[in-house]
């Protein structure tokens, strides 16, 4: 079994040393390089071609997440595992969207780290369990491409067309009555109509609702 070539990118020397020590002790990986921030990493990557980059998010000259597209573009074969203190789902999602192959917390157990490296090396994605549960839900809520009306606005027209009164719509959408009223006036302005009947009619005509 080949050893897995790894580059560690983290702005903390102590952390890098600790990590390196632990991984070398494991024996299944080669630490082929390390970087303290983004630009160093890119330089390292240009000379070395590791299998995996262990990438920190919070680094002095730009977030690790922001580096992902560049790395993926220039070095398509390099896999990236985010190794970070951030346990918030937003970071996970963002990393996923930007093309990360795995997401790990720095305080994760040693075994988890090893599992993640192996999984990713084998071509799988690795996300921490409790996080991955939420990912599906969040991804399904991905935004629709821009149209004349926003998704929310179309939803409101639909509710209006169903005969719901403003208060009901507000309750359903967790917003205030005022906000619904604002939405409706925006919609009418965008559609160039002046009353609710015309608004619904126009929405049908433009096949915004069906």
């Amino acid at each position: 079994m080949n050893k897995i070539n790894i580059v560690v990118a983290d702005d903390h020397q102590l952390f890098r040393d600790g990590l390196k020590a632990m991984l070398q002790a494991w024996g299944q990986v080669n630490i082929v390089g390390e970087a303290s921030h983004g630009s160093v990493l890119l330089t390292v990557l240009a000379s070395q071609t590791p299998d995996i980059v262990l990438l920190d998010i919070s680094m002095p000259q730009g977030s690790g997440i922001d580096l992902l597209p560049t790395i993926k573009q220039r070095f398509p074969n390099v896999k990236c595992i985010m190794l970070t203190m951030h346990e918030d789902v937003q970071y996970v999602l963002r990393s996923l969207k930007q093309g990360a192959d795995g997401y790990l917390l720095k305080d994760a157990a040693e075994e988890e780290l090893k599992t993640a490296i192996r999984e990713v090396y084998e071509g799988n994605k690795y996300f921490k369990n409790k996080i991955s549960d939420m990912i599906v839900a969040n991804l399904s809520g991905a935004r629709a491409p821009e149209t004349l009306l926003s998704e929310r606005e179309i939803q409101i027209i639909r509710l209006v067309a169903e005969g719901k009164i403003t208060k009901e719509i507000a309750d359903q959408l967790y917003v205030s009555v005022r906000t619904i009223e604002t939405h409706r006036s925006r919609i009418m302005k965008k559609l160039g109509v002046s009353n609710t009947a015309e608004m619904i009619q126009m929405a049908y005509k433009k096949k915004l609702i069906g």
């Binding site: 600790g18 951030h86 789902v89 720095k106 040693e110 967790y174």
Partner: protein
């Protein structure tokens, strides 16, 4: 010349009164003089005509006596004898004489009773032959005077004497002569011939008449004039001379000036009384008029004085009966009103009411324009002050938040990795497994604590992903740690225009609202949303708790709510909080 400054009222009173006095005086004196002259002239005319009449009567009377005497004389010449017997006895009844003496050519004397040769001689002594003489006999013993008629030829003579009763009768006929009118005869020596009306008991000849009228008549003048009479009393007297054979008498007809002018005097007295009454009335009317004129002027003066002292009269000036004064009062009212509105305006500005408006009275209304400028300046200053305060607060808040973020990051990104590094170190070091586990657990706890502290200070999600995502995180944590159902919709745009500060503010509001709900509301549900429009972001929050009394919360521990409002205010947004059945918070922040 110095003109004494009198009050207007005095001036008017005096002026009007003087005018009245002058007018009444002039008219009175004019009328009086004219009327008096008219009355005197009339009296003079009357006296003159009486004088002439009496004169005529006297002459007639005397002529009559003379004719009788001559008749008797002629008849005596022709029939001496019978005459002698019969003449004085029989004819004495036919004639008025008292005594008669006839001396014939032979020198014989025939006489009636009471005569004496001495008496005849004394008469003849004053007469001339071939003349008819009339003379006066004034006895020295105080007896009544009598006059005689002596008719003489060269040798014969007839002397008849008469008492004065005939003449007296003429003189004392005083019809129309009033109480002091009289006519009397005076001899050429100035002795009265007939009885004086005023001295009826005095023998006339003893009354001496030495008056202007007498002397004028004595030298042949006739007429009427005013002069003092024999008593020294001013009279109107008519005078003329009676030419008698060998003698001249003077006849005077007089009446007291006092009586003649009595009606005039009475009229004058009445006139004076009336004038006094009239003047009194005039004084009253003058002063009433003057008061009527001066009172509104004084009232105007008082008002102007009070204006000068800066005190604005509360009530309007009374309308006056005088048009000019009324127009002044109207102008003053207008002035007062204008000053009032200016003063009100100034007061309102002074109290900080910059909404106060004011319409300058005219282009030249310096005060008004100055006040307006002042107001505008104050508004500007106030705006600047508020702007400055907002800026200051903004800086404070953003500094605070920046500091929090920095500390949060330092802890999270600085200490965190070190601790994890320590953990790695632990795993590769040669220490007993039990100790390693213990220390690793301790390190995990520290890392968790650091995460919690960091997140409390400033969630990394908030600074990296904005409030929409940060609230997601917050909701997730609440739901993990409590039984609350939280419904949250993040409707911010993909490319949200919301600024970082606004994002932090919205997150803090949500945090505060959730804290309130958790602590006080006993709610089971929270509904929350963030909605982004082109020009604003709306935060909506509602719980189904028991709500709270806004006033109380504000007074007691409302730091949080106040904070919310202040933070939104800094960003130019508004917050609406309702709390009755549950609490509703709605915040709107404009998007730049």
């Amino acid at each position: 010349m110095r003109i004494y400054k009198l009050r207007l009222e005095r001036w008017l009173t005096i002026g009007l009164f003087s005018l009245t006095v002058f007018f009444v005086g002039a008219v009175s004196v004019g009328f009086y003089t004219q009327l008096r002259n008219a009355v005197l002239t009339r009296t003079q005319d009357q006296l003159l005509s009486i004088n002439i009449l009496k004169n005529r009567l006297v002459e007639q009377y005397l002529d009559n006596q003379v004719r009788q005497g001559e008749e008797l004389f002629l008849s005596s010449l022709s029939e001496v004898e019978p005459f002698q017997q019969i003449g004085f006895t029989q004819r004495s009844k036919k004639y008025d004489w008292q005594k008669a003496v006839f001396i014939d050519s032979a020198g014989r004397t025939f006489s009636s009773a009471d005569t004496s040769p001495a008496w005849v001689d004394s008469i003849l002594q004053y007469t001339k032959p071939d003349y008819t003489s009339i003379g006066l006999i004034a006895p020295s013993d105080g007896a009544n005077s009598e006059f005689y008629i002596a008719i003489r030829s060269s040798q014969t003579a007839l002397v008849l004497s008469y008492d004065m009763s005939g003449l007296e009768a003429i003189m004392t006929e005083r019809t129309g002569m009033g109480a002091t009118g009289e006519s009397y005869l005076v001899t050429e020596e100035g002795c009265m011939l007939t009885i004086s009306r005023f001295f009826p008991d005095t023998i006339p000849s003893q009354v001496l008449v030495d008056t202007e009228g007498f002397w004028a008549a004595q030298v042949g003048e006739e007429g009427v004039k005013i002069y003092p009479d024999y008593r020294g009393v001013p009279i109107v007297g008519a005078y003329r001379r009676i030419q008698l054979p060998t003698k001249t008498w003077v006849i005077l007809t007089e009446i007291d000036v006092a009586e003649a002018t009595a009606p005039i005097t009475e009229l004058r007295n009445r006139f004076v009384g009336l004038s006094l009454l009239f003047l009194l009335l005039s004084w009253l009317i003058s002063s009433w008029l003057a008061k009527g004129l001066s009172r509104p002027i004084l009232s105007l003066k008082r008002n102007i004085n009070s204006l000068a002292r800066g005190k604005l009269p509360k009530k309007q000036l009374q309308p006056s009966q005088i048009r000019e004064i009324e127009s002044i009062a109207d102008s003053l009212n207008e002035l007062i009103q204008a000053l009032n509105s200016t003063a009100n305006f100034a007061q309102r500005i002074g109290q900080g009411d910059f909404e106060a408006t004011y319409h300058p009275l005219s282009e030249q209304d310096k005060l008004g324009h100055s006040l307006l400028t002042m107001r505008d300046q104050l508004i500007l200053l106030n705006d600047q002050k508020e702007q400055l305060e907002r800026e200051t607060k903004k800086i404070l808040v953003s500094t605070q938040e920046a500091e929090r973020e920095r500390i949060s990051r330092d802890i999270h990104d600085g200490i965190g990795p070190l601790l994890t590094a320590t953990k790695f170190k632990m795993s590769s070091s040669d220490i007993p497994d039990s100790t390693r586990k213990e220390v690793t657990q301790l390190l995990d706890d520290i890392i968790a604590e650091i995460r919690r502290i960091s997140s409390n200070l400033m969630p990394a999600v908030l600074s990296d992903f904005g409030p929409g995502e940060a609230l997601n995180q917050l909701v997730w944590e609440i739901q993990k740690n409590s039984h609350l159902t939280v419904r949250y919709v993040n409707d911010l745009l993909a490319e949200s225009q919301l600024g970082k500060e606004a994002g932090i503010a919205l997150y803090r509001i949500a945090q505060e609202a959730i804290n309130n709900t958790l602590k006080h509301a006993e709610a089971t549900e929270i509904t929350m949303s963030l909605t982004e429009f082109e020009d604003q972001v709306v935060f909506y929050y509602r719980d189904n708790g028991k709500g709270f009394d806004l006033q109380k919360v504000y007074q007691a521990q409302g730091k949080g709510l106040k904070n919310i409002q202040e933070r939104i205010g800094i960003l130019g947004g508004i917050v609406r909080i309702h709390s009755s059945d549950g609490t509703t918070i709605e915040a709107e922040i404009p998007v730049v």
